[in-house]
Amino acid sequence: MTELRGFYTLWLREVKRYLRDRTRIISSFFQPLLWLVVFGVGIGSSLRGAVTIPGLTYQQLIFPGIVGQTLLFTAMFMGISVIWDKEFGFMKEILVAPVSRMTIFLGKMVGDSTDALLQGVIVLALGLALGIQIDLFAFLACLPVMLLITFGLVSIGLTIASFMGSLESFGAIQSFINLPLFFLSGALFQVQSLPDWMQTLARANPLTYGVDALRTIILGGTWQPLYPLYVNLAVIGVFDVIMIIIGTWAFTRMK
């Protein structure tokens, strides 16, 4: 019971902090907007209609990818909150409380994932505003899938941050993880048409399965999926479990 309430209160804190950060919410529109409008339209018209997938514009193709990218970047960014808490001393208050480290990790992780999910919903809404068709069922189906994707990604961010002492070093690691994961996820292209070596890398990337799942849901029949939806979800699920175990371990050894 104490553990459950500890979990709830840590979750609530992360969500409250996010909702109070207006600048972050407003700026979260901007990057996806650039990708979808400037990059999407720009590359789309360079291809002059020679679209590789019949029935899809380039913007439509990358839209689920940009949703995935938003989840990835937001999730990794959440790791900063751990460093922040360490630097401002609040982590001590949490670590010394009579709740288990697993509860502390899960509370923070699910809280941060909720924040990332809200970011993802904002991008979905942005897509609707740009005229991308998402029916109500697909919209609702996206929510649990997005949450599933963020669990593992947030866990990576929190794990890395738990080993780090300063905000500067976290920034460096971010660019070594964020961009490779993003580019190799097929967010901007079809994985099937890649050369073999790159396909291998893409298939080793957990985000690939997330982007593929989101495309299957959002684009429907016009999209030729890499894997069936249930395989995607199973791979993401296994990845989540592994990362949660690693993250809990990382928090256990944190002082």
Binding site: G89, K92, P98
Partner: protein
């Protein structure tokens, strides 16, 4: 009276540095116990071990009857801690910080509201409870942390430098709260400080720590009595010559120069004042002023260690400035 804390050869080393050296102390139920010493003496390390934040290198300790290593969770549930460094979430309101703490420490939901109102009243923060912490002053944050440490009704409260960096008025406030707590809630308080006056006015018993060891432990009054005398302070143009003169010609061995003044610890100091002035005049040393005061804990520290509470760490200019101001006055 039961012992709330018992340590047995409690030791902590960081690589080759001996931070806490075979510490044996007992803290009785209901007292305010002070750990006094310069920065780096091992006060915070001691408290961190008792709070189960740090594991001891050797030795053991019991807090509220629980072993600090084997029964860490029970220890944590039974104590309240106010850390030396701030540890509040400044993006949440005061009340939200308190609710969070109540939930983390398993305070029954039905009691949370009334307890939070109570502690807010105790530290006089009811009016600001719903403002974000980032709008609070340093003193207000400190008071909120104090309130937070009390929500789960701990039997034992650890305060690590509770008034560090606070202005004199706020320090007075905090001292008053701590005493009130002890009297109205029957809480045992263990605090660390390097403010001499704080330890003197607040604590029932004081352990003076230096280099990880307890060098003296008693009530403030008895500690000061060990000096057996008053302190004579002489302001002069030539402190070194005068102190040599007093020590050799007048056979007053407890003579030293401190910040350009000569200090002599001696019994019946008032009878000695004219003789000192006379001796100085005979030797052409000009005495600007001479005064007499009762010994304080700084003198006690000096007596046991041969030096003043180290002022060379530079980490807390506030404390050092405060000590120096008092010396000059």
């Amino acid at each position: 009276m039961a012992n709330v804390i018992e340590t047995n050869q409690l030791t902590k080393t960081f690589n080759s540095l001996m931070a806490v050296d075979k510490l044996n102390i007992t803290v009785k139920s209901g007292e305010i116990f002070g750990l006094l010493g310069p920065n780096g003496a091992g006060k915070t390390t001691t408290i961190s071990m008792l709070c189960t934040i740090l594991k001891p290198t050797a030795g053991t300790a019991k807090v509220n009857g629980f072993d600090i290593v084997k029964e860490a969770t029970q220890v944590r549930k039974s104590i309240g801690i106010v850390f030396q460094d701030p540890s509040v979430d400044d993006r949440l309101t005061g009340r939200e910080n308190l609710y969070m703490h109540a939930n983390l420490y398993g305070v029954p939901a039905s009691e949370q509201k009334s307890r939070i109102e109570h502690v807010l009243k105790l530290v006089e923060l009811q009016d600001r409870a719903d403002d974000l912490l980032r709008t609070y002053s340093g003193g207000m944050r400190r008071r909120l942390e104090l309130a937070r440490g009390l929500i789960h009704y701990p039997k034992l409260l650890f305060l690590d430098e509770p008034t560090l960096g606070l202005d004199p008025q706020t320090r007075d406030h905090v001292w008053r709260y701590i005493r009130e707590l002890k009297e109205t809630h029957d809480i045992t308080v263990v605090l660390t400080t390097h403010y001499m006056d704080e330890a003197d006015r607040l604590c029932d018993r004081i352990a003076i720590m230096d280099y990880g060891k307890i060098i003296a432990l008693d009530t403030p009054t008895k500690l000061k009595d060990t000096l057996e005398g008053d302190v004579v302070i002489v302001k002069t143009n030539n402190p070194d010559a005068l102190s040599k003169l007093v020590a050799e010609k007048m056979q007053l061995k407890k003579t030293r120069t401190v910040n350009g003044t000569v200090e002599i610890t001696v019994r019946n100091g008032e009878n000695l004042l004219p003789r000192i002035v006379e001796t100085a005049a005979q030797n052409k040393i000009h005495v600007e002023s001479i005064s007499l005061r009762a010994p304080n804990l700084e003198d006690v520290f000096l007596h046991y260690t041969g030096r003043m509470i180290r002022a060379d760490s530079g980490k807390e200019p506030h404390g050092i400035a405060a000590i120096q101001r008092r010396k000059i006055r």
